[in-house]
Symmetry: D2
Subunit: 287 residues, 4 copies
């Protein structure tokens, strides 16, 4: 099967009877075969979620007609939806970094390998330390230094840059600056952050030092959507690695790097594949 002939439809709406049938029917009516479908109902909140992957290779009409028909159904059922046809509307991504290079390298290498279905538009940093990495991978690099005084102004520049490049997703790949609430509210896309602890343990600064001091036997990393409340946005992915009394803080930092790379990459990949739905400060992540 040609992956280029696939479409993805991601749905959420108040639960009611007949939703699945309605969507299945509209696709079937256009000669479109459902190759993968998964749904979830939050029984407490009475919300319905579904992700459908369908095959367009024998479509009886065309993409526009199908899109209009889907629009009609989703309106009827008050559905929020995202519809994407493979090969169209690749997501545009910006990476914000500081001095740590492990997450940056990891994302660039995965992109080069074809694991991340997106265009990496730019790397933005408050340091020039990683400019050579950007150059290695031919990604435009913007040095935008912020001080307490210039923060609002530089954030405005950043927002303009993101808007100009039509960035859909901003990945904070160990970016050591705190974005203002205002920035987060104004950015029209999504923001994914990686925090180097198993949230909600060790929110805030220096989590490895605090984990060492507390004597935990596992350290973690958490990828989440950034919201105005620092480290409290919806969690997309988490993982842990074993540590022991033998590990000094520098060992936790080293072990943490492997964890952060993998956890962030899984979260970004899930987001790019339209497998994540955020609601009620949580996420649905369809496998």
């Amino acid at each position: 099967m040609n992956n280029q002939k696939l479409g993805t439809l991601l749905i959420s709406c108040p639960d009611r009877q007949g939703l699945v049938a309605a969507l299945a029917q509209v696709l079937s009516a256009h000669g479109v075969n459902i190759v993968d479908s998964i749904q979830h109902t939050d029984r407490g909140a009475e919300i319905f979620f579904q992700r459908i992957v369908f095959d367009l290779s024998e479509i009886a009409t065309d993409r526009d007609t199908l899109g209009a028909a889907i629009e009609e159904v989703t309106t009827r059922f008050s559905m929020k939806y995202r519809l994407r046809f493979a090969g169209e509307n690749r997501k545009k991504v910006a990476l914000f970094v500081s001095k740590y290079d492990h997450c940056l390298y990891d994302l660039l290498l995965r992109h080069q390998m074809g694991e991340l279905d997106c265009d990496i538009q730019m790397i933005v940093s408050n340091h020039d330390a990683l400019a050579p990495v950007a150059r290695q991978f031919n990604v435009p690099f913007s040095l935008l230094v912020k001080t307490k005084e210039t923060k609002a102004q530089v954030e405005a520049q950043e927002l303009a840059l993101l808007a100009k490049n039509k960035v859909d997703l901003l990945v904070l790949a160990r970016y050591m600056q705190i974005l203002s609430d205002d920035f987060i509210r104004k950015f029209s896309g999504d923001i994914i952050n990686i925090h180097h602890s198993f949230l909600p343990a060790f929110m805030g600064g220096r989590p490895h030092h605090r984990a060492h001091e507390r004597g935990v036997k596992l350290i973690g990393a958490t990828a989440h959507y950034a919201t105005a409340d620092l480290d409290e946005g919806p969690i997309i992915e988490q993982d842990v690695i074993r540590c022991s009394h033998r590990d000094e803080v520098s060992d936790l930092v080293r072990k943490g790097r492997d964890l952060e790379k993998i956890v962030l990459a899984r979260a970004v990949r899930a987001h790019l594949d339209d497998r994540v739905l955020a609601y009620d400060n949580k996420t649905i992540v369809f496998e």
Copy 2:
């Protein structure tokens, strides 16, 4: 929501367009709401698999009428299917054991705790060692000793016992006897076995000794459907645990017990929940 009002439909059939819509429609037409649905298509083999959980609390007709309607659709599309209404047709299970008690205790305790939706009809053993455990949990215990000479005859007794009790699922919970091909062919239900290695590594006897000799850094356990080919049936669940040069064979045996219990319990639970579909010597396990 009342779980007693749920039904489960498990489907497999040659892939073709319109399957999802047809099933969704028949349920919707009877006022039945789909609360959970997951599907998978094996693109190579062109086989379609789906598991649907639906809510009967506002059914517009009744279970028999719905059953007949589902029968009609599945026939039309040459679907193999299993339909089960919660509270009806609880699966009947037999446990075959020898001298090791850890898997037996684990399954009985999980059953007592309500984790396993089934009736445990009997425990069968070639030793009397575990009769007291059966007594503790009030499960009938049958001592059926086999020798080379009596094997065929005793297996016939076992089959009669299973048939009489309408056993759907036979769990080999560290049963140290090899069932004959004939037994496996004749038993009308399913058989789940636990093997104490990460199959296909260390098929056959004494896997912990061989793992120790090979110097592996992880040991495993595998739950699979028993087929005529020993240790080669469809794998349902596997897991591993770390070991090291410090572990002697007795340590591997000890660590293995925790693994075997959990892997077998997960496989049995998935089977009882109608989440497993076997085909082509593999399994689909819906989460």
Copy 3:
């Protein structure tokens, strides 16, 4: 090798040059062979820790003489130490439980299997729910119900019971009462507790509910020494299991049971094997 001929020496002291040589020499001088030794130095705190397992089968003197010689060395170097000869001084354990039976069953079964080198002296509970389990395993069961008014008095009874039975280790196997600071101070032995979260996340009550609400992707369990500060004692062992948006609180509780059993059992086993040294609100756990 006969395990009954083994001795274990557990040491901690301020770090200084010559410690290892002094201990090795005293053992060697008595014809005692070191079969296993592991040491750790906390460079920051400048504390030295060592665990030595030695073989007494060719001892040139006798246990008392060896004991006296070890006493001499440890005094000279201001060492805290625990010395134990296999087969002597088995630790005496009390289990405190409430209504949940999974940890209790697990510990009793492991003990029956020979995994836990101790004598289980008694089970104490504030409910009679688990009396039948105690009976199954022939362990004395004491029902000691506490109310706000009687708490001090009942705790005094408990302490008397523990003292009378010379209990070295008290395991809180999902005991749903909070022990008073006074009790913890007065009990002369060690107390191990199991908390059903990945500490320090979700300290305090209802951790599974809070984990569900926060939308974490892993849940954990933590075994730690109980101290006056609730859930803040030295951590012995932790582990996690993956969860998802599909898991309701009841699923987390179910998954948590497997985790709690294993984490608590590992911690208790490490403690019984004299592999744990607590200091500075952390633990050294020698593998």
Copy 4:
């Protein structure tokens, strides 16, 4: 503490009484403090293994005198040993690669990050595909193409190159050629290979395809010392990752990359830190 003042001693010998004392004493006599020590005795094979890390900052003599004294003890007890002073004799490493770049990038980045205490002398390949990567990291790249006819001759060139550069460790970082027995015998250093399966499952070619066909629920990777018997050398490190019916072979390949990188890096790091001792086709890996 200054890590540059550390020394490491790695020992193996027939077990006998007094070994630990003798080594501890010789170090103590030179004013050298043991900061870390771990030992293991294979009771079956009656072999003793020990790794000692010691602090030279207050040495009473000098490194040569200490070295001679250690030489004397090790000779007396027929010990095989490796002695290394931090900052001296960094291991020299060659990387053999083909077309896959993930392990190569991973090792180069870890080296750049300071995780691998060695000098990477060269990259050798039978393809020019990864020459640009070598260039990015300023490592000499040798293209040495082998055909069936030229294999012996090219291997001789490779051996000469390794000898000329005094290479101690050859890492086969997804090198897709089979080295001849002769090469392996003649190379004076160690060879670490990464195999993309959980050995001994799926030895030989196309392990991901075979894992997919068998329907396993976990895939693995194994780092081992290369010996004349392909995929049968002593295992240094292994790990696994969960997969499911949803994973096609290309997904296993993708998931396998993360695994291979981490497993190979851990094995190489353990080897470089003198934490690995191979014997009897197994390894001791001291943590």
